[in-house]
């Protein structure tokens, strides 16, 4: 009983539950690695900034659209990017940075794009998520 009330034990239990939930959520297509740092959780600029969205769009069209996600993210095997109410900006950042590997492959971009460049992609994806297909 004393252990049950111990805040350290609680912290372990909560973190264990979190790990379980994240693992479960990502089980089907698991990011190759997870780098937890400040830039992953906090965009360094306003994601609704039109200039950033435009920069993200340009990079998306050059690197992500052809052969993979299609124009405006409406191709590919992932959820269509337009009209996507469940869009999660931190999950999007992590997926771009770490890649995915399941039945298909998305290479990780975390070693070749800066966190700022990845956040610009996230800004564009966030913009798409509220657009009508």
């Amino acid at each position: 009983m004393r252990n049950f009330l111990n805040p350290v034990v609680w912290a372990w239990m909560v973190s264990g539950l979190l790990v379980f939930q994240v693992t479960k959520a990502l089980a089907q297509e698991t990011p190759i690695k997870a780098q937890e740092d400040a830039s992953q959780n906090s965009p360094p600029f306003d994601l609704t900034d039109p200039t950033r969205i435009q920069d993200g769009k340009k990079r998306f069209n050059g690197n992500c659209a052809a052969y993979c996600h299609g124009s405006e993210g409406m191709g590919g095997k992932s959820t269509p990017f337009k009209n996507y109410p469940g869009f999660d900006q931190n999950y999007a950042f992590r997926t771009i940075a770490d890649g995915r590997r399941g039945t298909g492959v998305m290479p990780p971009w975390g070693n070749t794009l800066t966190p700022e460049q990845i956040w610009e992609l996230v800004a564009y994806l966030k913009f798409l998520s509220i657009q009508t297909p």
């Binding site: 659209a65 052809a66 052969y67 299609g70 124009s71 095997k77 890649g99 399941g102 298909g104 290479p107």
Partner: protein
């Protein structure tokens, strides 16, 4: 799916007439007698190239003429309906599905699954005889063309692998133990240039090219000594020529050779096609003909010297590779002619010894990038080039009139069975920036969208053509383009599979559907046929992979719901 009836090739319908019934009865008696005479042997007719070594599938296209034809006829039009699963092999990894064409020699199947896992299997029951898993450089997880391989090559007592980390590797054929490994590319500096296809043998020379046609590299074809792994020669696809490549554009010109070539031992010639130039859709920086991209090469295996070449798309700006199979077929006058499909939707019929044009014919139904191809010069007529900042509609789309899945030729019907996709794309060409990441592509565009052909709905097909003239004998339409290689057999059958995982056997004469099987995941590899101890098998790799299905979702949203997988299915009659 529906069948188009062409030029009177209608399927038989209704009850046969009494005379036809008599004929059928007589035919059945003759067939039964033939079966008794041949016992349970998997028999075949014919001789010479394409018929050699009938019980095996010894190389990528089975024979050097790239026919993908098995002369075996134990499984044929009269009994294929009874075909059922004999055994199954699952490699245990599914990333990018199964894209290989298995090799079968003397009762042993050699094949490769995701992440370069190589297997030797008892071809009668799937028992694993050995397995090889390479220690790949971790950089392979950073690159675009990850995980997939189109096969292995077997010969000289070895199994040869082109690896995902840029090596040729030789394994002992009996044990699977690594004999040698030669590093040929530098993935870090060459944007992940790797071997997605098996290197091929030309005597004691092992040759092959890499990915990278869409990346800012100097694409190369490598050759090593097959017994030692010692490097013999390297062919740089972008020619060192300022007229062909102004400025330093050659250094970013792409030009890989990412599909297996073939080796014609009768003339000691390697045929291998090269990819598009990079940046794919913008030629502002490379305003020359960009040799030797989008070119079919005939090389001397000893030193890689060019015997002849034919550039099918000078200054390609549509992503129209020339990488597909070099089909060698009889020309009807006792000679052999080379037939070559380009992604651009035209078929080039050439003299196999010098590349001289004999004919050109339009393969795809929807075509607007050029008015045609001059059958004498082989050059495109009035090509409609992309322009920087201008959105244009191009047909075929960047994946081509057909993907890399090869057709099959049956010397008995003299027909070429091959597939197509009727999909276009809009492209807005743009200057290419310099900051291409390792997994990035040098495409030179600001927008690309798959779209329907004008006034039509995108779809796909399997057709039977006279390869010399393009005369169509029959065509079967598919809701989505089939991406499996095709197999033709001496039993008068044509095997393929679609993106949903439905496998088919068609009657080679008229396209009638004779057998289907639901594999559960799409077909992207190479169906093969072989015989062991008198029993014929049909092996079909399944498990939808590669980048093409993902990109095709833009035209076929239903692909998004299709599952991946990796299962090799082997069928037999009993």
């Amino acid at each position: 799916m529906h069948i188009e009836f062409n030029r009177g090739d209608q399927l038989e319908k209704g009850t046969p007439s009494p005379s036809a019934q008599k004929k059928n009865a007589l035919r059945n008696i003759v067939c039964a007698a033939a079966l008794v005479l041949t016992g349970l042997q998997a028999s075949h007719a014919g001789s010479g190239p394409g018929y050699d070594d009938p019980n095996n599938w010894p190389q990528y296209h089975r024979s050097y003429n790239a026919w993908r034809f098995s002369p075996l006829n134990q499984i044929n039009t009269s009994n294929v309906a009874k075909l059922h699963v004999s055994w199954i092999h699952q490699p245990g990894t599914v990333t990018q599905g199964l894209q290989a064409t298995p090799i079968v020699i003397d009762g042993v199947m050699y094949t490769i699954g995701p992440d370069n896992n190589v297997f030797a299997l008892d071809a009668t029951n799937g028992k694993v005889l050995w397995r090889y898993t390479p220690k790949l450089d971790p950089i392979v997880k950073e690159v675009f063309y990850a995980s997939a391989s189109r096969g292995v090559t077997v010969g000289r007592g070895k199994v040869f692998v082109g690896s995902l980390d840029g090596r040729f590797i030789a394994l002992d054929q009996k044990s699977g133990k690594e004999l040698w490994s030669t590093q040929l590319t530098n993935l870090k500096d060459e944007y992940g240039a790797l071997f997605s296809s098996p290197p091929q043998l030309a005597g004691n020379i092992l040759f092959g090219g890499t990915t990278g046609g869409d990346q800012p590299i100097v694409g190369k074809i490598f050759a090593v000594n097959a017994d030692t792994g010692k490097r013999e020669w390297t062919f740089e696809v972008p020619r060192d020529d300022k007229k062909s490549w102004p400025g330093d554009s050659r250094l970013r010109g792409g030009g890989s050779a990412w599909l297996p070539g073939t080796y014609d031992p009768t003339t000691d010639t390697i045929y291998i096609g090269t990819s598009n130039a990079a940046p794919d859709f913008n030629h502002a920086d490379r305003d020359g003909d960009n040799l030797y991209t989008a070119t079919l090469l005939a090389l001397n295996p000893k030193d890689g010297a060019i015997k002849w070449h034919r550039q099918e798309v000078p200054k390609d700006t549509w992503d129209f590779d020339s990488s597909y199979e070099a089909l060698l077929v009889p020309d009807g006058s006792g000679k052999t002619t080379l037939v070559h499909l380009n992604k651009n939707g035209f078929v080039y019929v050439m003299d196999k010894d010098n590349g001289a044009m004999k004919n050109a014919w339009q393969y795809t139904e929807n075509m607007n990038w050029a008015k045609g191809v001059d059958p004498k010069t082989g050059l495109p007529i009035a090509p409609n080039y992309p322009e920087t900042g201008v959105q244009k509609l191009h047909c075929p789309n960047l994946l081509g009139a057909r993907s890399w899945n090869a057709g099959a030729y049956n010397p008995e019907t003299k027909l070429w069975y091959t597939q197509g996709m009727e999909v276009c794309n809009t492209v807005t060409s743009a200057l290419q920036g310099q900051d291409v990441p390792i997994a990035g592509l040098s495409l030179g565009l600001s927008e690309i969208t798959l779209t329907n052909p004008p006034g039509k709905i995108s779809d796909g097909w399997l057709a039977a053509f006279d390869p010399l003239t393009g005369k169509e004998s029959w065509k079967v339409r598919f809701e989505m383009p089939p991406l499996s290689h095709v197999l033709a057999t001496g039993g008068g059958l044509v095997f393929t599979g679609d993106m949903r995982g439905k496998l088919y056997a068609f009657d080679a004469k008229n396209g009638k559907e004779l057998w289907t099987f639901n594999a559960g995941s799409g077909a992207r590899g190479g169906p093969v046929s072989y015989s062991v101890k008198g029993k014929q098998y049909i092996a079909i790799p399944t498990g939808l992979g590669s980048h093409a299905p993902g990109f095709l979702t833009g035209a076929f949203p239903q692909i998004r719901e299709l599952p991946g997988g990796a299962t090799l299915l082997v069928f037999a009659l009993d």
